[in-house]
C-alpha cells in the first residue's frame, strides 16, 4: 500500500462514532442496572436490619418448626435437613411422573392420529380438556374428589393382603431386603453390563449375517436367567413385605401419601396432554412419503410407526418434550396446595415459622434454577447430537 493513495480518513465526532457509542451504551446500561441493584440491595439490608432479621444463612441450622409426614423431620430438625427432604419429595414425583407421562403422552399423541374414529375423538377430547384448565385445578380436583373420599384411616379398604387404601396414604406390597441382598445387587449390576454386551453381540451378528437379532429377547432373557440363579444360590436375598396397619401406624410395603398420589395423577395427566400435542405435531411433521414408502415396503402399521415414523419424529419432539419435563418439575411446586411436602412447601412453612424470607426464597430459586439449567444443558447437547447433518 502506498502512502499516496491513503487519504487521511476523517473520523466522525465521538458522539457519532459507532465504536465509541457501542462502548458508551454498554457502560451506561451496566451503570443503570448497577445503580438499581445497589438501591434494591441497600433497601433490603437496611429494612432487614431495622426489623432485626439476620442477613446471613445461619438460620439453616436452626429448627424448622414443622414436622414432615413420611420422614424423620420433626419440629426440632434443622432447616437444611427439612429442605433436603423436600428436594427428595420433589424428585420422588419427578422420577415416577416423567416416565409415566411420556408413555401416556406418546400413546395419546399417536391415538389422535388413529384411523379409528372413536379412538382419535377420545384422544382429542382428553387433550383439549386437560390442556385448557389450570394444573392447580386438576391437582385440587384429584385431591378433593379423587383422594379425600377414599376410606378413612380407621376403616381402611384392603385388597386381600396386597394393598391398603385410605385417604391418608396408599400402600402396596413391596420387597424387603434379607441376608445377601447386597451381594445380589452387585451380581445384578455385573449382569446388566454383561447384558449390554449380549445386546451388542446380537446386533453385530445381525449386521454381519443378517439373521434376526432378537436382541431384546436375548438380553432380558440373560438378565432374568442370572437373577433366578442368583436368587436360588443366595437362598432368597429378598422377600415380600406386606403393608400392615396397626391403629394409625403403617409398616412394610411401599407406600405413598394421598397428596403424593393426587399430585402424581394430576400432573401426569396434565403434562401428558401437552406431550401428546407435541408428539402429534412431530408425527405430522414427518413427510408423508416416508409413511407411503413404508407401506410400499409392506411394513405393518406397528412396524411403520416403530421403524420409520417415530424415529424421525423423535428428533423433532425431544427438545419440546424435555421442556415439558421441566414444566412438570416446576409444577411440583404446587404441592403446597394439597399439603404435599416438597421443597416449596417446606420453605413456605419455614418462612411462616419466622425463618427469614429473602434468603429462603433465594435458596428455593437457586435449587430450581440449578435443576433447570442442568436440564437445558442436557437438551442443548442432545439437540446438537440429534440434528441431521445437512447435505452440503
Amino acid at each position: 500500500m502506498s502512502t499516496a493513495t491513503t487519504k487521511k480518513v476523517e473520523r466522525p465526532p465521538f458522539w457519532r462514532d459507532l465504536r465509541v457509542l457501542r462502548v458508551l451504551i454498554q457502560v451506561f446500561s451496566v451503570a443503570v442496572i448497577g445503580v438499581i441493584l445497589y438501591v434494591l440491595w441497600f433497601n433490603l439490608t437496611t429494612n432487614m436490619r431495622a426489623l432485626g432479621i439476620n442477613t446471613n444463612f445461619d438460620f439453616l441450622t436452626q429448627p424448622v418448626g414443622v414436622s414432615v409426614t413420611g420422614s424423620d423431620i420433626s419440629a426440632g430438625s434443622a432447616v437444611w435437613r427439612a429442605l433436603i427432604v423436600g428436594v427428595k419429595n420433589t424428585f420422588a414425583l419427578a422420577v415416577v411422573g416423567i416416565p409415566l407421562l411420556t408413555i401416556i403422552g406418546v400413546l395419546v399423541g399417536v391415538a389422535r392420529l388413529s384411523s379409528n374414529w372413536l379412538v382419535s375423538k377420545a384422544a382429542t377430547i382428553y387433550v383439549e380438556t386437560l390442556r385448557n384448565i389450570p394444573p392447580l385445578l386438576v391437582i385440587l380436583f384429584a385431591f378433593f374428589v379423587g383422594v379425600l373420599p377414599l376410606p378413612d384411616i380407621l376403616e381402611p379398604a384392603q385388597i386381600f393382603d396386597f394393598a391398603i387404601i385410605t385417604n391418608r396414604f396408599i400402600a402396596v406390597t413391596g420387597f424387603s431386603a434379607a441376608e445377601g441382598f447386597g451381594t445380589f445387587g452387585w451380581i445384578m449390576l455385573v449382569a446388566l453390563v454383561a447384558a449390554i454386551f449380549v445386546w451388542r453381540w446380537r446386533t453385530r451378528v445381525f449386521v454381519q449375517t443378517g439373521e434376526p437379532h432378537h436382541r431384546v429377547l436375548w438380553s432380558t432373557g440373560f438378565l432374568l436367567l442370572v437373577a433366578v440363579i442368583a436368587y436360588i444360590t443366595l437362598q432368597g436375598p429378598f422377600g415380600l413385605s406386606k403393608p400392615v396397619l396397626e391403629g394409625r401406624a403403617l409398616s412394610g410395603g411401599f407406600s405413598g401419601l394421598g397428596g403424593y398420589f393426587a399430585m402424581l395423577i394430576a400432573l401426569v395427566l396434565y403434562t401428558a396432554s401437552h406431550v401428546a400435542e407435541i408428539v402429534r405435531g412431530s408425527i405430522l411433521a414427518v413427510p408423508r412419503g416416508q409413511s407411503e414408502a413404508a407401506n410400499a415396503l409392506a411394513l405393518s402399521g406397528f412396524q411403520r410407526l416403530r421403524f420409520v415414523v417415530l424415529p424421525q419424529s423423535m428428533r423433532i419432539a425431544i427438545p419440546p418434550t424435555i421442556n415439558q419435563y421441566l414444566n412438570f418439575v416446576k409444577n411440583t411446586s404446587l404441592g403446597i396446595a394439597v399439603g404435599y411436602s416438597e421443597v416449596t412447601l417446606i420453605a413456605f412453612q419455614a418462612v411462616g415459622n419466622g425463618r427469614p424470607a429473602p434468603q429462603m426464597v433465594l435458596l428455593l430459586m437457586a435449587a430450581y434454577l440449578l435443576f433447570s439449567l442442568t436440564i437445558s444443558f442436557v437438551v442443548n447437547v442432545l439437540n446438537r447430537r440429534l440434528q441431521l447433518v445437512g447435505r452440503t
Binding site: 454498554q26 451496566v30 379409528n116 374414529w117 372413536l118 385445578l137 380436583f141 416449596t344 430459586m365
Partner: protein
C-alpha cells in the same frame, strides 16, 4: 353389495380426472372407521362403553347434584369481595369491553372488505352461524352463570352486553378508512375508560377477587410485561455483549424458576426491596411479581418473532440508509410483532391459567373462592368440591379453548411459518 359410489358414465368429475368424493353409507363408514380389524373393534367397544359410562355419570351429575353452593356464592366466584353497592362498575366495564370487541371486529371486517375490493379477490362476510360456531363455549358459560343467578340484574347486564357488542359491529364497519388507521387510539381510549370505571371512585384493586381478579391479573400483567419483554428481547438479540449478557441472565433465571417462587417473593420479599414506609397492597405486589415473571416469557416470544424476519429486510433497510433505530422501528418490529400474535395469545392463555396460583398467597381468585365456599358452615365437609371445581374448570376451559382456537385461526390467516 358394494360400498362404493358408482361413478356414472359421463360424470363430470370423473371425466375431468378430478378425485371423486366417495360417500360411504353409515354401515360402511362404521366398518371403515371403527371396525376395520379385530383389535380396532376391541378398542372401539372398550372405548365406546367407557364413553357411555362417562356420559351417564355426567348426566347423573348434572341432574342430581345440588348446585346450591354455586348459587349462593356466585357473586363471590365472579367478583370476590367487590363492594356490593359498586356492582355497576364491573357491569359498565363489561359493556365497554363488548363495545371494544364489536368495534374491533367491525373494523377488521371492513378492512378485509377493502382489501378484497382492491385485489379483486372474493370476499365472504362471516355469517352469524359461523361466529356462533367459533364462540359457542362462551355462550355456554354465560348461560350457566345466568341460570345460577337468583336476581334479574345479571340478565339485564348480559342483554346489554350483547346489544352493545352486536350494535357496535356495524359502527366499526362503517367507520371511514382514515379513522380505522387510527384504530389503536380508539382502543386505548376505551381501555383507559374501562380502567377508570373499575378503579375510579376509590374502589382500588386491592380488594378484588373472583374471576374478575384472574382476568385483571392476566390483562394487566401482560400489558405491563410487554414493554419490559420487548426490551429484553432486543437486548438478547443485540450485538452489544453487555446488554446481551444481562438480558440472557434475566430471561434464563426467570424461566428456570416456578411462578410460585416469584409469588412468594412478591408476598414476602418485595416489601424489603422498597424504601421503608412504602408498602404496596397485596394485589399490587403480586402484579409486580407476575410482571417480572411474564416479561421473560414475552421476551422469548418476541425473540421468535424477531428471528422470523428475514435478514434481507434489515440489509435492504440499511442499503436505503435508514438509521439502526429506524430500521428497527419501521422495518423489523412491525413484521416481527405481527408474527408473534399467535404465540402471544398462547402466552395469554398460559398466564390466565397460572393466575390461579395466587391462592397460595391467600388471595381469593375464582379458584380460591370455590375453596372458600367449601369452608363455609353450611357447605363444610360435604365433598362439594365435585360441584365447585368443575364450574371453575368450565370458566378456564371456555376462555383457554376459545382463545387457542382463535390463535390457530389467526396463525393460519397471517400465514405464520408459511411465508
Amino acid at each position: 353389495m358394494s360400498d362404493r359410489k358408482v361413478i356414472e358414465v359421463g360424470d363430470d368429475s370423473a371425466a375431468a380426472g378430478r378425485p371423486v368424493e366417495v360417500r360411504l353409507g353409515a354401515w360402511a363408514w362404521a366398518k371403515k372407521n371403527l371396525f376395520s380389524t379385530w383389535y380396532d373393534a376391541l378398542l372401539t367397544l372398550t372405548l365406546g362403553s367407557l364413553f357411555v359410562a362417562f356420559g351417564w355419570t355426567l348426566i347423573r351429575f348434572l341432574f342430581t347434584s345440588d348446585f346450591e353452593i354455586l348459587r349462593v356464592n356466585l357473586a363471590l366466584l365472579m367478583l370476590g369481595e367487590f363492594p356490593r353497592d359498586q356492582l355497576w362498575r364491573p357491569a359498565v366495564a363489561l359493556i365497554l369491553i363488548a363495545v371494544l370487541l364489536g368495534l374491533m371486529a367491525g373494523m377488521g371486517s371492513a378492512s378485509a372488505r377493502d382489501t378484497a375490493e382492491q385485489t379483486g379477490l372474493p370476499y365472504q362476510r362471516s355469517r352469524p352461524l359461523a361466529v356462533l360456531r367459533r364462540f359457542w363455549p362462551v355462550l355456554v358459560f354465560v348461560l350457566v352463570v345466568l341460570i345460577l343467578t337468583e336476581t334479574v340484574a345479571p340478565w339485564l347486564v348480559a342483554v346489554s352486553v350483547f346489544v352493545a357488542g352486536v350494535g357496535s359491529f356495524p359502527l366499526g364497519r362503517a367507520l371511514p378508512g382514515g379513522v380505522r388507521k387510527r384504530g389503536w387510539l380508539i382502543l386505548i381510549v376505551i381501555i383507559a375508560a374501562i380502567f377508570l370505571v373499575l378503579v375510579g371512585g376509590g374502589v382500588g384493586w386491592d380488594g378484588w377477587g373472583g374471576l374478575h381478579l384472574n382476568l385483571f391479573l392476566t390483562v394487566a400483567g401482560l400489558l405491563l410485561a410487554f414493554p419490559l419483554g420487548l426490551m429484553l428481547a432486543l437486548g438478547r438479540r443485540s450485538t452489544l455483549p453487555a446488554l446481551r449478557a444481562m438480558s440472557v441472565t434475566y430471561i434464563e433465571f426467570i424461566r428456570g424458576v416456578p411462578l410460585i417462587t416469584l409469588l412468594l417473593l412478591g408476598q414476602f420479599v418485595i416489601g424489603f426491596f422498597l424504601p421503608a414506609g412504602f408498602r404496596p397492597g397485596n394485589v399490587t405486589r403480586i402484579l409486580i411479581a407476575i410482571t417480572l415473571f411474564e416479561a421473560a416469557y414475552i421476551a422469548e416470544v418476541v425473540r421468535g418473532g424477531l428471528q422470523s424476519v428475514p435478514s434481507g429486510q434489515v440489509e435492504a433497510s440499511q442499503a436505503l440508509g435508514l438509521a439502526p433505530w429506524k430500521t428497527m422501528r419501521r422495518i423489523v418490529l412491525p413484521q416481527a410483532l405481527r408474527n408473534t400474535i399467535p404465540a402471544m395469545v398462547g402466552q395469554f392463555i398460559s398466564l390466565f391459567k397460572d393466575t390461579t396460583l395466587v391462592i397460595v398467597v391467600n388471595m381469593i381468585d375464582i379458584l380460591g373462592a370455590s375453596q372458600a365456599a367449601n369452608a363455609q358452615g353450611s357447605f363444610l365437609a360435604q365433598g362439594l368440591h365435585r360441584v365447585t371445581l368443575p364450574f371453575v374448570a368450565l370458566a378456564f376451559w371456555v376462555g383457554s379453548y376459545v382463545m387457542s382456537r382463535e390463535a390457530r385461526r389467526l396463525e393460519h390467516k397471517l400465514g405464520v411459518g408459511v411465508r
